[in-house]
């Protein structure tokens, strides 16, 4: 066992006496565990609960409640985080109830879902919470039995003393355990002794989901609640001038129409305070349909914005962000990016003498890749419930980064954070979009004005046209090969609107003697935000498509080519800031090669593409198989190999990888948000094409590299290389390399060309 100092602060271990009876706990045991019976008998709830620490409550009958600290948007942390606590607590998972913890970072520390960091950063703290509770139970038993603490053991929720033959369920000792001192050190299990971590456990909310119970903020109601919508400028580059609400106010059920301003004048924004449309027109009424109709009767005048600069407190200190005036269009973006890409960029990394190496190269390959803005398009449109009174604000909404928006709310409402209560509802998707919680502020301002509880709802059109998009990107790659086909120099120059996608210290940096990475960015008034694997979601895919082409030029198998480079990075790394582990990187390539039968068992008539990438601390590789039927790519199988360290909940992790593969294929083939004079060209799913059932792969095989390394992220890492695995397979099927995302329009051209 490893002994670890507890770092949870004292407040994490408030020892409450019994809560007011079991009646507060409305949970049922929907944790089906490994059992195949999908309808387990509900647990008998205890008479009294005892809070051992902030994560663990134990009932007098041994039923355990575990709090899940982070917001849930489908990555299944609400199951996997409590599994980690349960492992160290040593309880029977069938007798566990999971609850969403309240937002309270002083107790639960990092309650942010994003960056694939939930499990990675929660890992030690969650284990300690479980282990500390187990320790206190053992202390209670040792005292009750008058035996040495070391002799008290546990097994699945039962305390034992072998020498005397005594045993007691956790429920019997819970009351005493709650009064024990918090241990300063706790023992953690050896990985080999895990009985819950590494076993597949069902989603604790699945039953509620499939029976339609209210889980989402969108589903919640409050007594006397009004419905609100906000209207934003139709075009980026415009702002509110005036509103004539006469007709709208006369419509049934409409209570009020008024402008709101998300930030007070002079407020210094934080990183997640998006600049999207800070002035809006709010319309409030009795029912959703009434407000939806009445907003159409608003007569709003917009006016052009001027060039402005805002101050944003980012992770690297306060920055000035320039927001240019003007109505932007996609063709102009393309022209501006091409123009900028022809100029020198900002050099981020330089190894050796790349210019000389390119001059002496036997062959130089240069390719340019582009990708458009993308909308997140979470299935649950943006919404939030707010109830603001003179001295309190209560919010319930889908929010990935509550800590950031709490500060914004405090500043805007003039309330201290302790008077702001944010309930983290289950989110109908996140993908980065819900890190930007402007809608909590909007809902709060509307509630404050109306002096009533309010549910703010964005229509799909509001949601899709509000900005906070994945940026538009551009990258030019050059590779220099010598006479023997060896890669002697590599050059990437990447940029975007309005941010660069570059990760300068990623593979193949470290594997090439002469390496140059440059970046650039162009200002825009179209707003962007984190989108599943930010930056990597473009640069990973295009880099891996480029390497496929370089391998082909070198006359090498694409997997063997990469493995050679990784071997170089392992044995004689170039530079010192390489951010990947070449052994683990090679590991997923070898695993996907073997699992897919690459080169040895290639399915006849099927075109295969391979790609691998490292991001968010984890490694992912895919082999994608497709055939072309009637001009449409039919993806017959995707084989994935992942190294994310210990896999907490394997079937749920598999589900996450399957989803990332489908998402990657969908966005690579179809994803695009374009603009005409500031106007988003797509407003709903009629023209914004999303991947559907029939376009999904027929099979996805997911393989995890066995590991006893502490777990790392999984929501993002499998996503970026999908773009390249698909591009590389499409090349093998069509003979044409695709450099411009999305791919589907180019495939249609290919079909017309070959069949016409």
């Amino acid at each position: 066992m490893a002994t670890v100092k507890t770092t949870l602060n004292r407040r994490s271990f408030l020892k409450a006496s019994a809560l007011a009876g079991g009646g507060l706990m409305l949970g049922f045991n929907w944790l089906a565990g490994c059992q195949t019976d999908p309808t387990p008998a509900p647990l008998t709830l205890p008479e009294d609960w005892f809070e051992i620490n902030a994560f663990v409550k134990i009932g007098d009958n041994g039923v355990v409640t575990i709090m899940s600290p982070n917001p849930e948007f489908g990555q299944n942390v609400k199951t996997s985080m409590p599994m980690i606590v349960a492992e160290e607590l040593d309880v029977d998972w069938q007798r566990v109830i999971v609850e969403q913890a309240p937002f309270n970072p002083a107790i639960y520390t990092r309650q942010f879902t994003g960056g694939s960091q939930g499990i990675r950063q929660g890992w030690t703290g969650l284990r300690m919470a479980g282990a500390a509770a187990r320790h206190m139970l053992r202390q209670a038993a040792a005292r009750a039995w008058q035996v040495p603490l070391e002799e008290v053991t546990t097994h699945a929720g039962v305390l034992h003393h072998a020498a005397s033959g005594r045993s007691a369920g956790y429920g019997e000792m819970a009351s005493a355990a709650a009064t024990m001192p918090v241990p300063e050190e706790v023992e953690l299990k050896d990985v080999a002794d895990f009985t819950i971590i590494g076993t597949s456990r069902k989603n604790v909310e699945a039953r509620k989901i499939v029976t339609g119970q209210p889980l989402y903020a969108m589903d919640q109601y409050r007594e006397g609640m009004l419905v609100a919508m906000v209207v934003h400028p139709g075009r980026f580059g415009m702002r509110l001038k005036s509103v004539d609400d006469t007709a709208a106010r006369a419509m049934p059920g409409i209570r009020d129409v008024f402008p709101i301003q998300t930030f007070a004048d002079g407020y210094e924004r934080n990183y997640f305070d998006t600049n999207t449309f800070p002035e809006l027109v709010a319309i409030v009424g009795d029912t959703t349909w009434q407000v939806m109709n009445a907003r159409k009767a608003l007569r709003i005048e917009w006016e052009p914005i001027e060039d402005t600069e805002i101050r944003v407190a980012g992770f690297g200190g306060t920055q000035t962000v320039r927001i240019p005036a003007g109505l932007e269009s996609t063709p102009d973006h393309a022209a501006r990016m091409a123009e900028q890409a022809a100029r020198p960029g900002r050099v981020v990394r330089r190894d050796g003498n790349p210019e000389a190496a390119f001059r002496r190269a036997a062959r130089v390959i240069e390719r340019t890749y582009t990708a458009p803005f993308l909308a997140h398009n979470c299935m649950e449109p943006i919404n939030c419930i707010a109830h603001v009174t003179a001295d309190r604000a209560e919010l319930a909404g889908p929010i990935q980064a509550p800590e950031f928006i709490e500060r914004t709310l405090a500043a805007r409402l003039g309330l201290p954070p302790e008077r702001i209560d944010i309930q983290m509802t289950r989110m109908g998707g996140g993908f980065g979009r819900r890190a930007y919680g402007h809608y909590l502020v909007e809902a709060a301002l509307i509630s404050q004005r109306m002096n009533a509880p309010v549910k703010l709802i964005y229509t799909r059109e509001d949601d899709m046209t509000f900005g906070v998009y994945r940026p538009a990107y551009h990258a030019t790659y050059r590779a220099a090969l010598d006479e023997a086909g060896r890669l002697i120099a590599f050059h990437v120059k990447a940029g975007g609107i309005p941010e660069s996608p570059l990760h300068a210290n990623r593979f193949p940096a470290g594997a090439v003697d002469h390496y140059l990475a440059e970046e650039w960015a162009l200002d825009s008034n179209i707003t962007i935000g984190a989108f599943r694997a930010p930056r990597s979601n473009f640069i990973g895919g295009v880099e891996q498509a480029f390497l496929d082409e370089v391998a082909e030029a070198a006359g090498k198998d694409p997997i063997a080519f990469r493995l050679e480079l990784l071997e170089r990075a392992r044995t004689r790394p170039v530079g010192e800031r390489n951010d990947y582990d070449p052994v683990r990187f090679a590991g997923v390539l070898e695993r996907v090669r073997d699992a897919s039968g690459w080169g040895t068992d290639d399915p006849p008539g099927v075109h295969r593409g391979v790609a691998a990438y490292f991001c968010h601390n984890s490694y992912a590789a895919h082999v994608l198989d497709l055939v072309i039927e009637d001009g449409t790519p039919v993806i017959t199988r995707v084989c994935s190999a992942i190294d994310c360290g210990i896999v907490v909940n394997p079937d749920a992790a598999t589900n996450m990888v399957e989803g990332a593969v489908v998402d990657g294929i969908g966005n690579a083939l179809y994803g695009a948000m374009t603009f005409t004079d500031g106007l988003p060209d797509h407003r709903n799913f009629d023209t914004y094409r999303m991947i559907r059932h029939a376009e999904a792969p027929k099979a996805i095989d997911v393989h995890f590299v066995e590991s006893d390394v502490a777990p790392t992220g999984l929501g993002e890492p499998p996503f970026p290389p999908v773009f390249a695995a698909l591009a590389n397979a499409l090349y093998r099927a069509t003979g044409t390399r695709l450099y411009e995302q999305p791919f589907a329009p180019h495939l249609e051209a290919f079909v017309q060309q070959t069949t016409g």
Binding site: G74, I209, G212, W289, R426, G428, F431, R460, N655, M656
Partner: protein, 152 residues
């Protein structure tokens, strides 16, 4: 405003709403049946799928005035206790990620199996293609439908 007598999940209810109100919002705002989800409002995502006399329809574009005596079934009424074969298959395959689209997916699948108890994969794709899943759980949905169909 006008009064409408509806049969929802076997229960007779009366609502007083504008005749153009989509059934989606009648269910959600007036009957507190929130399992049926709003996703797009233009019948392109399927999150709002309900049954009208057993046939899958998109409730976001279905005016309440057009329902008449047809029986409405929502996810809350698909089974009394969550034991519809599809709901059970969904749990066995642990289908949901975010879960928001799943009620609509299940309602589309239930209507499919009611008219075609042994659909081919192509028939499953065709019947389900109107239901978006942003998380990409399509393979598990397909597997769950096959499991439920195999049990008859």
């Amino acid at each position: 405003m006008a009064r409408f007598q509806l049969t929802v999940n076997g229960r007779d209810v009366e609502v007083d709403v504008d005749p153009g109100t989509p059934v989606l919002w009648v269910l959600r705002d007036h009957l507190q049946l929130v399992g049926t989800k709003y996703g797009c409002g233009i019948a392109r995502c399927g999150a709002c799928t309900i049954h009208l006399n057993g046939v899958a329809v998109r409730s976001c574009v279905l005016p309440v005035s057009s329902v008449g005596e047809q029986a409405i079934t929502t996810i809350e009424g698909l089974s009394a206790d969550g034991t519809h074969p599809l709901q059970q298959a969904w749990l066995e395959h642990d289908v949901p990620q975010c879960g928001y689209c799943q009620a609509g997916q299940i309602m589309s699948a239930a209507a499919l199996l009611a008219r075609n108890p042994s659909p081919s994969d192509e028939e499953i794709d065709a019947a389900m293609n109107g239901n978006l899943c942003r998380c990409g759980t399509y393979l598990r949905i397909r597997a769950a439908i096959r499991t439920a169909a195999a049990r008859g």
